[in-house]
Symmetry: C2
Subunit: 323 residues, 2 copies
C-alpha cells in the first residue's frame, strides 16, 4: 500500500509524467504499418523509406543536420524523432499537420524527400500481391487508398514509445533509479523554469513557444516556425516545443540542427529562453538528468516485405544521363 | 524408420541439398556484427550502411538494377544478395574476395558505395563509447581494427541463411510440400541441365562458369567477370554462378540487372547456356519450381546502435555548396 501511495504522490507533484504503456491499438494495422514504414518502394527512387530519416536504430532520427532526400537533395529542417511522436499536440516543427496520419502524407510526395506522389505510391502498393491481400484483411475490403496507407503507418507509430527510462522508474517510486547527481540536475531544470514548457509525459510537445524569449536565437536558417503556417507576425519564431525524451540520442539539436552536443544545447536554451548562464557544474548536472530520459527503444523483428508484382512500377532511381 | 530412410534417399539422389542449420557461431560477434551491418556511420555521409543495398526486408538486395551509393552515385554491377552468401565459394560476381570477411572490406572504402576509408571507419567506431565496451567484451581486448570489424560483420552474415523452403521440406521427405506442377518444373530444370551448375545447398555459388556457352549474352555492360581479376582471356565472361535461393525476391537479374522478371531470366538462361527454347508452359513450371526455393527470411530484432561520442567524426553528408 505505501509503495503505491508513494508512487502516486510522486506522479502528482512532478511536472513530468511517466510515459504510459500503449493500450488500445489495432494490431493488424500496426503490422501493416510497420511494413509500409520500412518500404522504400513508397519513394520514387525505391531507395528512401520512412525509416531512412527516422532510423529506429538511432533514436528515430538520422543524426544529421539535414536529411538526405531524393537524388541526395538536402532537407530543409532538422528531422524530428518519430519516437514518442504520438505525445505531440501536432506534427512537424511548425505544427502544420494535426496528427501522425496527416504527417505521414507529407514526405511521400515531398520532392526533396521521397519524391513520389500519392497516385504513384498507391499504384505501387496496389500491384504488390502481398499488400493487396493484407489490406483486404486489415481493412475488410480491397480498396487501397492513401488514407488507409497513412492510417496504418500512424497506427504503427503509436507503438514507438520509449517507456521505462530511469527517470520514469524514479517517478514511479524507485528512488535508487537515478543518482543524487542526476536528481540535482532535475532540480536545476525545474527551478530554472525549463519545466514550464518541457513537461508532461513527452517532456515537451504540448505547446508552441517562441524561440528567443530572453535573447535572440542566432541562425541563418529561413524557417519562421508557426508564422510559415499562419502568416501571423506574432507567430514568427514560434515552434512546437520538442520532446526531450531520448534527447541524448537525437543530436544534432534545434530546428536548424546547428548545435552538435547536448551540453551546448542546454547552454543555448538557458540563455535564449531563460536569460541564464549555467556554470559548468550546473550544465553537467542538467545534462546528466536529461540522459536519464532515455527509455527502452522499440523492439520488434525486422519486417519481411512482399515482393513486387509484374505490374509494379519500377523504381526511377537514376536519370537517363546516369546522374 | 521408413520416413527417415526416405528422406535420406531423397537427399542422396538429388543434386540440390537442403540448407543446413547454422551450427557453431560466435554469438557475441554476431550481435556486434549485426549492429555494424546496420550502422550508417561506417559510411562517409552517415547515410549508407551494409543494409542499404543488402536490405534484409527485401531478400538481401535493393531490387534495383544498380545500387545508390555516396552522393547518389550509381553502382557498377547488380548487388548480389547477402542471404546464404556463406554458401558461395567466393564473393562478388567475379569472385575477387575469398570470403565474407574480405568482401566486407570493399564497400566501406569504395567511393561509389560507402565512400569512407578504413582509417576513418575505425576512428568512428573507436570514438563511440558503446562500441569500445562491446569490442572489449567480444574480442577480449580494446583494440579496434578493420580486421575485427569485418570479422564481426562476416560472423553476423553467417546467420543470414534461409532454411525451411518448401523445396527443402520436400527434399527432407515431406512429399506434399510442393505440388505436382512445381515438381514437374524441377524435372524440367534437371533434364535441361540447369543443375550442372545450380546445385548444392545454395542451388549455385559453387563454381565459375562462362555466361554465353550456347549463345552470346547480349549486354552493353563492361564487366568481363573473372577476367577482370585474372587478366586471362579464357576468363572473359566467366562469372560466379549465382545462388538461386530466394530468387523470386532478388530481381532484377544477371550481373547487369537488365532482366526484370523471373520468367525472362529463365528463358535467357535456357537460351544462352543450354541452347534451349522453353514453351510457355515449361517456362511457367520452372518458375513455379524456383519460387519453392524461397525460405524462411532472417528474423531478429532491429539493433539499437550506441550513440556517437563527443569526438566521433561528424558525417560528411553534403558538400559546402549544398550539393
Amino acid at each position: 500500500m505505501s509503495v503505491l501511495q508513494g508512487a502516486t504522490t510522486a506522479i502528482a507533484v512532478e511536472p513530468i509524467a511517466p510515459i504510459q504503456p500503449v493500450r488500445i491499438i489495432n494490431l493488424a494495422q500496426v503490422e501493416l504499418g510497420k511494413k509500409l514504414f520500412f518500404d522504400p518502394r513508397l519513394s520514387l527512387s525505391g531507395h528512401i523509406s520512412c525509416s531512412s530519416c527516422h532510423n529506429l536504430s538511432l533514436g528515430g532520427v538520422d543524426n544529421m543536420q539535414f536529411s538526405i532526400g531524393h537524388i541526395w537533395r538536402m532537407g530543409n529542417i532538422n528531422t524530428p524523432t518519430v519516437l514518442n511522436s504520438s505525445l505531440n499536440l501536432a506534427q512537424f516543427w511548425n505544427g502544420r499537420a494535426a496528427d501522425l496520419k496527416e504527417q505521414a502524407e507529407g514526405p511521400i510526395s515531398n520532392p526533396i524527400e521521397m519524391a513520389s506522389n500519392h497516385v504513384l505510391a498507391v499504384q505501387v502498393i496496389q500491384t504488390i500481391p502481398g499488400y493487396v491481400a493484407e489490406f483486404r484483411q486489415v481493412f475488410g475490403s480491397k480498396k487501397i487508398t492513401m488514407d488507409r496507407v497513412t492510417s496504418a503507418i500512424a497506427e504503427f507509430e503509436k507503438i514507438l514509445i520509449t517507456p521505462n527510462s530511469r527517470f520514469d522508474q524514479w517517478l514511479l517510486g524507485n528512488e535508487s533509479a537515478i543518482t543524487d547527481y542526476e536528481l540535482s540536475g532535475y532540480q536545476i531544470f525545474k527551478v530554472s523554469g525549463c519545466v514550464a514548457c518541457h513537461n508532461g509525459p513527452g517532456v515537451g510537445g504540448q505547446s508552441f513557444q517562441k524561440l528567443g524569449i530572453k535573447a535572440k536565437y542566432e541562425t541563418d536558417h529561413p524557417a519562421r516556425g508557426k508564422a510559415d503556417v499562419t502568416g501571423k507576425k506574432s507567430d514568427i519564431n514560434v515552434f512546437k516545443v520538442p520532446l526531450l525524451r531520448n534527447i541524448e540520442l537525437t543530436f544534432p539539436y534545434f530546428h536548424d540542427g546547428q548545435v552538435a552536443t547536448l551540453e551546448a544545447a542546454v547552454d543555448t536554451m538557458a540563455s535564449v529562453q531563460r536569460g541564464l548562464t549555467f556554470t559548468r557544474d550546473e550544465n553537467a548536472r542538467v545534462v546528466a538528468f536529461l540522459k536519464t530520459l532515455t527509455g527502452d527503444q522499440p523492439s520488434f523483428n525486422i519486417p519481411v516485405l512482399p515482393p513486387s508484382g509484374p505490374d509494379t512500377p519500377r523504381p526511377q532511381t537514376f536519370y537517363s544521363d546516369g546522374s
